[in-house]
Each structure stands twice: as C-alpha cells, then as structure tokens.
C-alpha cells in the first residue's frame, strides 16, 4: 500500500510529474483498453466506443457533457478518420485538449471527466476535457444573509466559484494555484491571493501547510480550515469561513489569502483576527454611523451572551449584596418556588435552549417551525409554572441566546454558545471571582493565538490606532485607507489617505 500513497501523495498537479509510474500508453487498441479497465476497476459507466477504422473513444458516462461529446467530438471524428494524434487534436473544436503518452495522465484525465481518444498504432492518447460536474444553480447566501449587498453565494463548483471571484476582481494580479489534497478523494483545492498585496511569506506558509497535509479524504473546507489553523486545539477559529464572494474578495484585496475547496460552498480566508469575526460585509455598505452602531451592538451582544447568565448565577448564589433593591423582591419571589440552586437552574435552562436550537437545525424546514412553538410556549411557560425555573432567568437565557445569534460568523456563534457553560459553572462555584478567572483565562488564551503567525488580537494588540478605525467601530471610508497590518501587505494603503471631498460645482 505504500507505493500508491507515495505516488499519489499531495503533489501539485502541474508540478513535477510522478517519476516512478512511467508506464506508457500501449500502441495496440486492445492493450490500451485493458489497461484503462484495470486502472479504473472496470466500472459499469465506463463507455468504450470504437470508430472504425482506428479510433477508440473512452470516457466515464456521468462525468462528461453529452451535448459537447455529440456535437463537437463524435461529429468531428466521423468526418476525419485516420489521423495522427496531433492532427486530431487540432481538429477537435473544444478548448481543452492535450496529448500525452503517459498512462497515469490518461487515467487522471478520465476520472476528471475527459474523453480519451486513442488511435491504433500510436503510443499517445488525446485527452479532451469536456467535464460536466453536477452542480446547483447560484443562490442567495443563506447563512450570511444581508439586506444591502450582493445576493449571491458560492456554490459547490470550484469553477463557478472562481468565475464569481474573477468577476469581482478583474485583474491579472489575481493568482490562482491548484493543489490536490486527499489520497483517495483527490480534491482540488485552489489557493487565491492578490499578487502585490498578499505577503509572500504568508502565501508560502499556506502553500506549505496545504502541501504537507497527508489526508485520506477532504470533503469540506471546514475540515481543511481546522487542519491548517495555527492552533487546532483552540475553540476559537483562526480562519474565516464564508459563503459570500464579496466578503472573500474584500479579504483578498486586504492582502489576505483565500482557499477554495472543490465541492464545498464555504471558502476559507486567512489570516483573520478576532475582531474581524464580528464584522459583517454589510457594514461596508452602510453609512459609517450605522455600521459603527451595529458593530458596537454586536460586541455588546457578545459580552451579554457570554456573561449575563453567569452574572445572574454569581449574584444569586453568593453576592446578594449587589442586587439592587428594585430587583430584590421580584428576583427572590420568582426564585422562591425553584427547588434547585441557581447554577443548576441556569444550566438546565441553557441546555434546554441548546436542545431547541439543535433540534430546529436538524429538523426538516417544514416542521422546524413547530419547534419554536414547543420551545416558546410549552417549555418556557410550563417550566415556570411547574416551578423549575424562575421567569427572570428565562428572560436572561432567552436574551443571551438571542445575542449569540448576532455574530456574523456561524463558527464564532458556536464558540459563544459553548464557552458560556464553563463560565456558568465557575460562577456557580466561586461567584464573581470565578467569572473573573474565566475572563482572564479567555484573555490570555486569545493573546496566545495567532492566525498565520499574525497576532489574533490585532489591531488591539499590538495596538495600531489607525486600524482601530475599522475594528469594533467603523469610521468613514476616507479615514480607513490603511490595509490591516495583520496581513503584512506589501501595499500599505488602499487609496490616497487624503480626504476626498467632492468639489462643489
């Protein structure tokens, strides 16, 4: 099993060809057909058509575009028999045609959706790429929807995605490198970056990380993102997954590096700082005052979501002194029936909310709505009436659940969901002291993280005042000319930082 692994191991597609497997293509038709059948395990959808006198056409049925095959290849062949591969190549009226004499190349071509044309007596074969991958039509982004902005999302087709990007960035500087990952799946992964903006060192790092992956299979980009993260053990993601081509392109233009995986509708952008996870592409499209407000709102939501329930638990378990008098009576009266200590009560309710969320994510959309009813009315009201939770806690939990949805990145939303639990437990054991322990631990943890070697807490640490203009606030566009230093871009400024004022005419 070793040799196969080594041969197919993640090497760039067009770089050094595998040197060991130099088996050439047989001149005889029968031998050639047999060798192809052997190599592909003779699948039932392998079609072999002979065109007398000397041409054989081999392809896999489900991978090629039937229309092109009929109109552009079969039609051409019938007119021109008896040619050499070179003439045949010139004769075919399709764009991607190559000639090879290596069997391995031929196999690679056929499983990628090419048609092999073999001419009796020649040790070469013509590979005509007429692949047609099944893919859905472009649709609106569902996970990262926004009101103002483009309404198109990536889909599962690599070529569609790249064409989307090329439409946003019409520039020869857009670099595109293809890498195959996965010994068994041979998934095409594309590395995209802007030449002249992206730092060479970072591009090398990503290239290196992708190349050194020795994976069996790569199905989705989320897996890849986790594998090439600086610290895969951390709960915080260090690379952004997005389905929005505009966000992706905006990243590239900031000097970031993008990775797209074939068959996955989420693209990876790196390096990414912690604060950027709380920015939405829509912020760029709104007026700066509104964008700033929304960003601050999200930040507040983050803190609210993470610390509100622990605060409740700590105050009710240990620090009754801090409860304002106005809350004292309603709080203690609503707690009076509850038989559990606050920590248990809070954990119970948090878990119920998580159950509801998980259930509504798994259920078919049609009955998903019922979950809302079950959650809202049945569990919420009944739990309070049955006296297992207090209604004030119910409000707090609902509020923090709501706040956790405001994170524009689903990945970060999940983090918020999770880190609440240990903090609630700490608060339930040691009150404010426990909460503060968690705050310090999270702070140190975040400081220790890096994204492609760049500081994760940028632009706050190391502090860069100019970039803070576009962080948790967003200053007017003329003031945010600087590219984030996080990307170590070769070109520091997006435009002339002088304020642009339209002349009055």
């Amino acid at each position: 099993m070793k040799p196969f692994n080594q041969n197919q191991s993640p090497t760039a597609m067009n770089s050094e060809a595998p040197t060991e497997n130099l088996e050439t293509i047989a001149q005889a038709q029968d031998h050639f057909i047999q060798s192809i059948k052997d190599a592909t395990n003779n699948p039932d959808d392998l079609i072999i058509q002979s065109f007398p006198p000397n041409i054989t056409l081999i392809y896999i049925d489900n991978l090629v575009d039937d229309q092109t095959l009929n109109n552009n290849i079969i039609a051409d062949l019938q007119n021109k028999p008896n040619d050499t591969p070179e003439i045949l190549m010139a004769a075919l009226s399709i764009p991607e045609v190559t000639v090879t004499s290596l069997l391995i190349k031929a196999i690679e071509g056929i499983i990628n959706g090419s048609v092999l044309l073999h001419i009796e007596g020649y040790p070469q074969v013509v590979i005509a790429n007429i692949a047609s991958r099944e893919s859905r039509a472009l649709s609106t982004p569902e996970n990262e929807s926004q009101v103002i902005g483009t309404q198109v999302a990536f889909n599962e087709s690599l070529s569609t995605n790249i064409s989307l990007i090329r439409r946003y960035i019409v520039s020869p500087d857009l670099c595109n490198e293809k890498i195959k990952i996965g010994r068994r799946t041979n998934t095409a992964v594309t590395l995209l970056y802007m030449n002249g903006l992206a730092s060479d060192q970072m591009v090398n790092t990503v290239r290196q990380r992708l190349a050194s992956l020795d994976l069996d299979a790569l199905i989705d980009s989320a897996v890849l993102a986790e594998m090439i993260d600086d610290n895969s053990l951390s709960v915080f993601p260090q690379m952004l997954l997005t389905e929005r081509p505009d966000r992706f392109c905006d990243g590239l233009l900031d000097g970031k590096i993008g990775v797209i995986v074939d068959g996955s509708s989420m693209a990876i952008i790196c390096p990414q700082s912690f604060t950027e996870f709380f920015q939405s592409q829509e912020d760029q499209n709104l007026r700066w005052q509104i964008a700033t407000f929304v960003r601050l709102l999200r930040l507040a939501a983050f803190f609210l979501s993470v610390y509100l329930t622990p605060f409740y638990v700590a105050a009710l378990t240990f620090h009754y002194e801090v409860i304002p008098q106005a809350f004292l009576v309603p709080l203690s009266e609503s707690r009076a029936l509850v038989p559990f200590p606050p920590i248990f009560e809070a954990l119970l309710l948090e878990i119920i909310i998580e159950l509801l969320r998980e259930a509504s994510a798994r259920l078919p959309t049609k009955i998903g709505q019922t979950i809302g009813i079950v959650g809202g009315i049945v569990i919420g009201t009944a739990a309070v009436q049955a006296g297992i939770t207090s209604n004030i806690l119910l409000i707090i939990i609902a509020l923090s659940a709501l706040a956790s949805f405001t994170s524009p990145s689903y990945m970060m939303g999940n983090v918020i969901r999770l880190i609440r639990f240990p903090i609630i437990i700490l608060a339930g054991f040691w009150g404010f002291y426990g909460i503060m322990l968690a705050v310090c631990f999270i702070l140190v943890h975040l400081l220790r993280q890096s994204s492609l070697g760049a500081p994760y807490m940028s632009p706050f640490y190391p502090p860069r005042l100019k970039e803070m203009r576009d962080s948790i606030i967003r200053m007017p566009i003329p003031l945010t000319a600087k590219r984030p230093a996080l990307t170590r871009s070769k070109d520091d400024y997006k435009f002339d930082p002088e304020p642009i004022k339209p002349k009055k005419s």
Partner: protein, 374 residues
C-alpha cells in the same frame, strides 16, 4: 507544551471539587433590611431586626424580631435561632437607635458596621424618639414592610433635601473628624404613620440635644450646599420692612423653593474663634400671603430683605443652640483646623472653643423668579 495541557484538566477538576465556598443563595437567606438598637437590661444590647423572608407561596413576609444580647453579632445569632433562614446583613438599608442608647454613645455601632465588609457605607442612620422596638413592632395599617418604608422615607427626604443626610459614611466621617459632630434625623411614630420629627445633635458620638424638623433647613444650608427644597416661613409683622408693613397688618407667610445655596465660612479671628458665615440663596418665590406685587422691584427688594433678616435670625438661633450643647454639627472646627497652622486641635479642645465661638451671619437672598402667573 501539549503534555502540560492535558495536565491542566485533572488539576482543574481536583481544584473544583475542593474549593467550594459557602453560598448565600438569595431565596435561602433572610435579608435584614433594618436594624434597631435599644438599651437592654444589664448592659446588654436589645436589637430589633426587620427581616424579609420569601416563602414558596410567592409572598414575601416581613418578620420583626427583638433579641437581647451582649454584642450585635450575638443578636444575629439569636435571630438565626428563631428563623427558618440564615440571617444576612448585606442588604441592610437603615440602622436606628433608641434615644436612650444614642445618649449613651454610638461608637461601638459605627465601628462594627464599618468593619463588616458586607454592610454598605450608604446605609442610613437615624435616632428614634423613645425606643425602637415599639416603633417597629407596631402593626401599621398601610405599611406592609416597615423596613422598606423607613428606608424610602429617609431616602426620599434626603434626596429632596428636606433632611440632612446621614449615611454610615457621613456619620463615621463626622465622628472621626476633630472639627465636626454627628447629626442624624429623628423619627417617630405618629398614629398610623412614621414621620421625621427632628434632628439629633451629637457630641463625641453621644446625643445631646435636638432640633425640630423644620430647622433641618438651617442645618442644611450651613452644613453643605443646598440644591433644591421647599421652605416655608412666617415673617412677623414687626420684622417687616416698612414697604411691606403697608400692605398688611398681620404676619406674612412666605414659601420659597431654594434653587441654589452657597455657604462660605471664613475664620476672622483665630485666638477667640470668630467666623464670618456668608449664605447666598437663590430662590423662587412660590407663595406669599397676603399677596404682594412681585412685578414691583421695590416690593421684591423689601421681601428679600425681610427674608434675609428672618433667615439670619433663625440661623443665629440654631447655631446658638448647638453652641450651648457643644455640638459642632456644622463643621466650623474643620474650617478652623484648615485655616490655622499647627492648631493641634483635639475634640475636647475644639468643643471648649466652640462654646464661645462667635459667628457673624450674612444672608444674601435673591429672588430669581416666581411662577408663571403674577
């Protein structure tokens, strides 16, 4: 490094199991909202506590308990013995003292409350006419929670500047200050209500005299800056300037709303303490009886003059009374200490000097405006 990370988790779990702390779960504690102290038998302290308890019937009931013991903590233990919930003091809002106890001295109670970290420095302190226990134990018709009620009563009056402020911090500050004495509101039961009935004057933490509640206005304007508050006074006919005497043959009632007052005390003579007290009040006239023409500058000036004289007279009276009992609740001593270098002032020394202190009072009263209808 990775090995270390795995090492963390069992360590944390271990710590988690050991480090449990005593809890004070809100619905499992009885919250003391008010404590009243009286003189008990045989040098003991009698404490009356108002405790708010919550029971599962969604009702909070208020318990009033009286216990007698040697220390205030001993009283807490005793109260604990009588209740189903742990008694805690972190939500205490008011401390009351019986008159007899106040006359014996409050030092112990100030110290014990300052020492306890869970007692806020913002709690109010007041003296009760006669004993505390009957005031708290009386079943009022309309007052459900007597602790809450007294707190609101005092808080509201202090916020509206009707009464001098007497938080634990201020009491302790004045108590430990060499040039100032403690003053507290006095409350009493009046049929079905509780009311503020005066201001208690202290000397060295011992109550020595009292002023009627109406005089708290004068205490306030000399003690600190007075921002807003209604005041009503009667101008006697013989004191009125001639301009006003023409209008009426009777006494004149004036009510005003002091928008802003400023006091300035300067020491003019250090050897035999003599102070200049300048009080500047800007006010809004709300009511005069009989009516005077407030559009007329002359009569307004006359009115201002009349009020000035009246206020000066009243201030003089209040200060004289405090001098008589050697209780410097206005803080003249602090001014003295701040103005005289190396005064080496002590409490005794100052009280001695205070008795013979002279104060020249100048009141400057300005009518800013009256209502919207002249």
């Amino acid at each position: 490094m990775n090995k270390l990370k795995y090492f963390y988790s069992p360590l944390l779990a271990l710590v988690l199991l050991y480090g449990c702390v005593e809890t004070n779960i809100l619905d499992k504690v009885g919250l003391t909202t008010l404590v009243g102290y009286d003189v008990g038998t045989e040098k003991k302290i009698a404490a009356t506590v108002v405790i708010r308890e919550v029971n599962p019937e969604f009702q909070s009931n208020v318990e009033v308990l009286t216990t007698e013991n040697d220390t205030s903590k001993g009283n807490r233990i005793e109260a604990n013995h009588q209740l189903s919930k742990k008694v805690v003091v972190g939500q205490m809002r008011v401390v009351l003292f019986g008159e007899e106890l106040a006359k014996e001295g409050l030092r112990y109670f100030i110290d014990t409350n300052l020492e306890n970290a869970s007692v806020s420095n913002g709690i109010y302190m007041a003296v009760v006419e006669d004993r505390v226990a009957p005031l708290l134990e009386y079943e009022y018709e309309n007052i459900e929670d007597i602790g809450q009620h007294i707190f609101r009563l005092i808080e509201q009056n202090i916020e509206q500047e009707y009464m001098i402020s007497s938080t634990l911090h201020e009491v302790a500050r004045d108590y430990y200050s060499v040039g100032k004495d403690v003053a507290m509101p006095i409350i009493k039961r009046d049929k079905e209500l509780v009311k503020l009935s005066g201001v208690a004057l202290f000397k060295d933490g011992k109550m020595v005299s009292r002023l009627p509640a109406t005089d708290s206005f004068y205490v306030k304007i000399v003690r600190d800056t007075f921002k807003a508050g209604l005041y009503e006074t009667i101008l006697h006919h013989e004191d009125l300037p001639s301009a006003l005497q023409k209008i009426t043959t009777d006494d004149m009632t004036v009510a005003f709303d002091a928008i802003h007052s400023k006091r300035k005390v300067t020491l003019v003579n250090a050897a035999n303490p003599e102070f200049d007290l300048n009080v500047k009040i800007k006010a809004r006239i709300l009511e005069t009886y009989p009516d005077i023409n407030q559009g007329d500058p002359k009569s307004v000036a006359a009115l201002e003059k009349a009020i000035q004289n009246k206020l000066a007279k009243e201030l003089e009276k209040v200060i004289a009374q405090s001098q008589k009992v050697e209780s410097d609740i206005f803080g003249f001593g602090e001014i003295y200490r701040g103005s005289v270098r190396h005064a080496q002032l002590t409490k005794e020394k100052w009280h001695e000097m205070y008795k013979d202190m002279k104060v020249n009072i100048h009141v400057d009263f300005v009518v800013l405006r009256n209502g919207v209808f002249e």
